[in-house]
Subunit: 547 residues, 2 copies
């Protein structure tokens, strides 16, 4: 029976059969022969996910001083029902990732159809043709409980399998560059022994040329630039590997403007990535306790932060909003803790702030449910069976990325408390975490298992018409700073809702004038970290009494 | 019996007697009459410590568009044996604080002797003449145990007494500006009721005009600029107080280039200061666990940090060195926790990262003793009775400020472990924490009580001659990044010491070439957060074997 892979647009692609592999390798061989005659290096990028697809295109787009392409890229992806569709799509010149950066689609189209420096394939035999292999296979961290990152493990299976397959196929002198964010020590203590063993089995005496360099990709309008035009850190297992990775990165990235940091050992590069993202997670988590302090003591934390971040030394202070999502910040610290025990063999607990920060960030958004309940209670409406509209599903403003977004937890908590949820997000057409909540990304990852009564959320659909979404709601939660939400008019909101509602501002979206206007319209307002709201309410009520 | 106050230079000043007060007030009255006729406002600055003395001079130095002075400043200080000497010294035009910023001495001299806009006094009656009172009385936080900031309390006595005295003396329309870093809520919930009550006793119906604005003073070469040419945050208890404080700060600070942040309520300004410093403490403490991870896994954390801080969003990442000292960072978070319970009446524990960061920072330097022990052990020398030279006593590079320095804890810990300590610091002539360890700053503050066998440290003197200090040492601890220590020559160090020694680098002071040289000279090297040191040692030993 032929199996199919379904693209997000609903197109069905039959998975390749046994007979297709030989033909596919011949196609690649032919292409590579031509490309080599043009003096181009062959780069195989393993993993065509969020990072790999764009990194592959950046490499395929690289050119020398005369403007001529220097690399031919083969993007590789296992032909699973979940992911195979990316390959035929890419080979048409269509991006498999939907990005807010218009350059992604343009660059992929250009490299596939015009420059012809980019093809995608499903066969591991592509590795036999590689001068350089770039590994962008995910390394997840699986959490067993909510708000306790210590109770979890690095999911190394896919990565370890990749290392073995690479070593079984590549020419011995190929450079293998691991770009994946990994548990510190992975390159030298996991990848190296696996690959060396496979080399020896093949009768190869040479040691594998292994390097690590992490990306600093940022979803949004500057997606491509965040890969190509940004500082990189790298290192290699041997001096030769180090020199090779430096040469490669200088050829494909804008290292003149954004110089490389070359570290002594791969573990230093791996550690840098984890420290970098854990630092960010910690600075955000730090504000959670002050957010609560502010709420309870009449302080508007958003104004306090603005007053502080004027200082250049404090300019990276960011109001944490309803939780810290995205693919990296919730997990990277976990990889560090795990490595300390499971790669390096230590038994003691040296990590304090790193896990605490993740635990705080992972549960911060739950407080929004509490604020929603309190606001509705002030209006004498029970939360159970209340109609609640969430504005914003993604984890970050003005992107359509819902991975581990605080909004997901808000929906899940309010649902188990009995509320009826609706969602609006101009950037998100399908909220897969709910629509495919039993399979996406995998049940091990799904946050569903931490909440009761989640079955009905299978039917949650993201509404694109804000007016329609508002009709008949009891409460609106402003969860994301999408630009669409920054200047909503209180009158129009209340009119569309059909009367006074509860408004919960999770991200300092409402200025004091708007908060006042909502109160004047009979609404109830609560704000994450915004303790001054009560003062505005009192002012409005005072004036009413006088009036 | 006449009591005396001893200046740091050893000059004795008799404390004023009862009969001196009337005369002093007449002197002030006369001065104020002249100054008012010149159109100047009278500003009384209470507390002539680290901040007050310089703030007073900045105000006295303020001028209008025509370059004419606009304020006459009376610096006020209680005439205690410990502090009275500041008053006669100031009245000669001599700075009572020794600062690395040459502008401090120049400005004080200029204002006292040339512009004649600054005088100092011991009588509270000065308050009767004030248009503006600036409160720079310290509010300490007393810790009952080491590494547990939750076990402590704000020391409000001096501040509360000041509020009462101010209200008993000032004209009702005087603005009272609290500059002290206080527990959030202090202005509105402690100062305001105290002052209002005192006003009512005096038959004054008006409410006190109270404001809060915190300084961001930084010891070092830009001390004056850090007060005058830097951003300020402020607020007032009433609209009138807020307008008055804005007006005052605009007249005395460089607010054109560094605009004011005016917040709604004093608690917001007070909270901003605590959040600001707690944020800094947290970002530093965060690296402690990664420092240990680095040490144990061959990673040089200093290189990792340099690779990370290239990112503009991570540029404020700083290697924490041996603990985080200074007057502010170890205590400010404590004032926040304390306020939550003791001013606002909450019972739950909402603070997680803020206290944890302080606890980590307060004990980080103790690990240096462990590294010293390990380094000596590798040389088969026992730590007990070893001669150990500490390079750097102050809490920060290129300043002479020893308050809560990590170096103090290193000395205390190594002393209780039986080592013989010597200290060198080009900026510190007297290390009062030891020389006056039974009285300075007070036994409640002294860290002495947390360690055994500290009596002999009374005799600890700071050596100014590095060569002499090195003679016969077993170990050298590089504790502070004073510029004098950044390029010490390994050969010279070993020669001065009289043979191979243990070298402990607490602050990434040694580059890899120097570390290698020390090993080649037969020394043992350990570094805080520098796990790559062992690799360099192995290289050196390998070469020796080959050679």
């Amino acid at each position: 029976m032929v199996q199919y892979s379904l693209s997000p647009d609903g197109e069905r692609f039959p998975l390749p059969g046994q007979e297709d592999y030989q033909k596919e390798f011949e196609r690649l061989n032919e292409l590579v022969k031509q490309q080599r005659s043009l003096g181009r290096e062959i780069v195989v990028v393993m993993g065509l996910g969020f990072v790999g697809a764009v990194m592959a295109a950046v490499v395929a787009d690289a050119k020398d001083k005369n403007g001529k392409p220097t690399k031919f890229v083969i993007g590789m992806q296992r032909p699973s029902t979940r992911s195979y569709w990316k390959i035929p799509l890419l080979n048409r010149g269509v991006s498999p990732v939907s990005a807010d950066d218009p350059e992604v689609a343009l660059m992929i189209h250009r490299c596939v159809n015009d420059k012809k420096t980019f093809t995608a394939t499903f066969t591991y035999d592509a590795l036999k043709l590689a001068d350089v292999v770039v590994v962008d296979v995910q390394c997840d961290y699986l959490k067993e409980s909510l708000g306790n990152v210590q109770d979890g493990r690095a999911d190394m299976a896919a990565l370890e399998e990749s290392f073995e397959i690479i070593a079984q196929h590549i020419p011995p002198e190929a450079l293998v560059l691991i770009e994946t964010t990994v548990a510190p020590g992975t390159t030298e203590q996991i990848a190296y022994p696996i690959m060396k063993k496979a080399f020896r089995k093949r009768g190869i005496d040479k040691d594998p040329l292994l390097a690590h360099s992490y990306e600093r990709v940022m979803p949004g309008r500057n997606y491509v630039a965040s890969i190509r035009d940004f500082w990189r850190v790298c290192s290699g297992v041997t001096e030769e590997a180090k020199q090779r990775v430096v040469k490669f990165l200088k050829e494909v990235l804008n290292t003149e403007k954004f110089p490389l940091s070359v570290l002594d050992r791969p573990i230093e590069s791996e550690t840098a990535k984890i420290v970098e993202n854990s630092f960010r997670a910690a600075t955000l988590a730090f504000l959670d306790e002050w957010s609560l302090f502010a709420e309870r003591n009449g302080v508007d934390l958003t104004k306090v932060i603005n007053a502080i971040k004027v200082r250049p030394t404090h300019s990276n202070m960011i109001f944490p909003g309803p939780g810290i999502g995205g693919y990296c910040l919730p997990k990277d610290g976990g990889l560090g803790l795990w490595a300390y025990r499971h790669i390096h063999g230590f038994e003691d607990d040296i990590f304090k702030i790193t896990p605490l920060a993740i635990d705080i960030n992972d549960t911060r958004s739950l407080h929004v449910a509490q604020l929603t309940r309190d606001a509705l209670r002030n209006m004498s409406r029970p939360l159970a069976s209340a109609e609640i509209l969430l504005l914003g599903a993604s984890y970050r403003e003005d992107v359509g990325d819902t991975r581990y977004s605080g909004s997901e937890l808000i929906v899940r908590r309010l649902t188990e408390m009995g509320a009826e949820l609706r969602v609006h997000d101009p950037y998100v057409t399908h909220w897969w975490e709910f629509e495919k909540q039993d399979e996406y990304p995998s049940s091990d990852h799904s946050l569903k298992r931490f909440f009761r009564g989640q079955e009905k959320l299978k039917d949650l659909r993201v509404e694109q018409d804000l007016k329609k979404a508002l009709d008949g709601t009891d409460a609106v939660i402003l969860a994301v700073r999408h630009h669409h939400y920054l200047n909503l008019d209180p009158e129009e909101i209340v009119t569309s809702a059909g009367g006074p509602i509860a408004v919960i501002d999770c991200f300092g979206i409402l200025d004091d004038a708007k908060i006042k206007r909502y109160f004047e319209l009979g609404c109830e307002v609560k704000g994450l970290g915004r303790g001054h709201v009560k003062r505005i309410k009192d002012q409005v009520n005072g004036r009413r009494d006088e009036g």
